[in-house]
């Protein structure tokens, strides 16, 4: 995503990444990023918690005006229960990628029928 951000920024369009993988963000050196220390998959807030999602996105967007030079700004959200849930799920997993195929991977069979008939 940093590669995309850097490209648009060099075209003159201000960008801001809302991300939750600090090491990946740091390697990519994006123009503006807000770091939320939630597990991957919850970059824009806790699930089924609209107040948290609103607060995360609201605080993140402030970065457009508060960041005046390339910066990755940590935000002050915490979610231990989310980390516990994800750590438990991943504790016996070495490789969590899906198989790399060139077949479209629909979320549901109904989606496949809707797209392909």
């Amino acid at each position: 995503m940093s590669l995309i951000a850097r490209h648009f920024e060099s075209n003159g369009l201000p960008t801001l990444i809302l991300g939750s993988a600090l090491d990946i963000l740091t390697a990519g050196r994006p123009p503006r990023a807000m770091f939320v220390n939630y597990p991957l998959g919850f970059e824009s807030g806790r699930f089924e918690d609209k107040l948290d999602q609103f607060a995360v996105v609201q605080q993140a967007l402030r970065g457009f005006e508060s960041i005046s030079k390339p910066t990755i700004q940590p935000m002050d959200f915490e979610w231990q229960a989310g980390w516990d849930m994800v750590n438990e799920r991943e504790k016996n997993t070495l490789d969590s990628r899906s198989e790399r195929t060139t077949e479209p991977q629909y979320q549901t069979e109904a989606d496949r029928i809707a797209a392909e008939g």
Binding site: L13, F47, L61
Partner: protein, 163 residues
């Protein structure tokens, strides 16, 4: 809280080494990024969004997992329950498939435009599938497609939400 930020690069490198896979290469920048100043405040700006979570809607072709460099256009008014995901790291999307706003914050953006925090929103958001192994294909296929799509939205600001 999680005491320290999780080290995804190190963890992935170590597990792939154990499995005998080639290491996955995240993008590593070797220079300072360009930095474009804001032309207007957020409250007067038109904001768009790109998600790399493989977001699609019913009727569209889903993403495939081997270096899919295509993009999808997602209308802003799309009901949240119509947002779908296909991404090579779909294990991170179990909850997002119940509540898509954990990675695709359409409801929060709509609320922030309604209360005046954001001037206005794009008519269309965009998605792609983040797990592309070839930097060259990101540069020559994905980014030009995103650039052409974003240009039509006449944006002042662009929010990027990676998976």
């Amino acid at each position: 809280m999680q005491p320290e930020p999780k080290q995804y690069i190190r963890q992935t490198r170590e597990s792939y080494e154990k499995l005998g896979f080639e290491p996955y290469q995240w993008f590593e920048a070797d220079s300072e990024p360009a930095f474009a100043p804001l032309r207007k405040p957020l409250s007067a700006s038109r904001l768009g969004m790109i998600s790399t979570a493989g977001t699609y809607v019913p009727g569209q072709t889903a993403y495939y997992y081997k270096d899919d460099t295509s993009i999808r256009s997602i209308r802003r008014e799309t009901p949240t329950q119509d947002l779908r995901f296909s991404h090579i790291m779909q294990n991170y999307l179990q909850e997002a498939r119940q509540d898509p706003c954990t990675v695709f914050p359409t409801e929060a953006l709509t609320a922030l435009a309604a209360d005046g925090t954001i001037g206005e929103l794009a008519d269309n958001y965009f998605s792609c599938m983040g797990g592309i192994y070839s930097k060259n294909r990101v540069l020559t296929e994905l980014i030009p497609a995103l650039e052409a799509a974003v240009e039509k939205e006449r944006l002042d600001l662009l929010l990027l939400v990676p998976l």
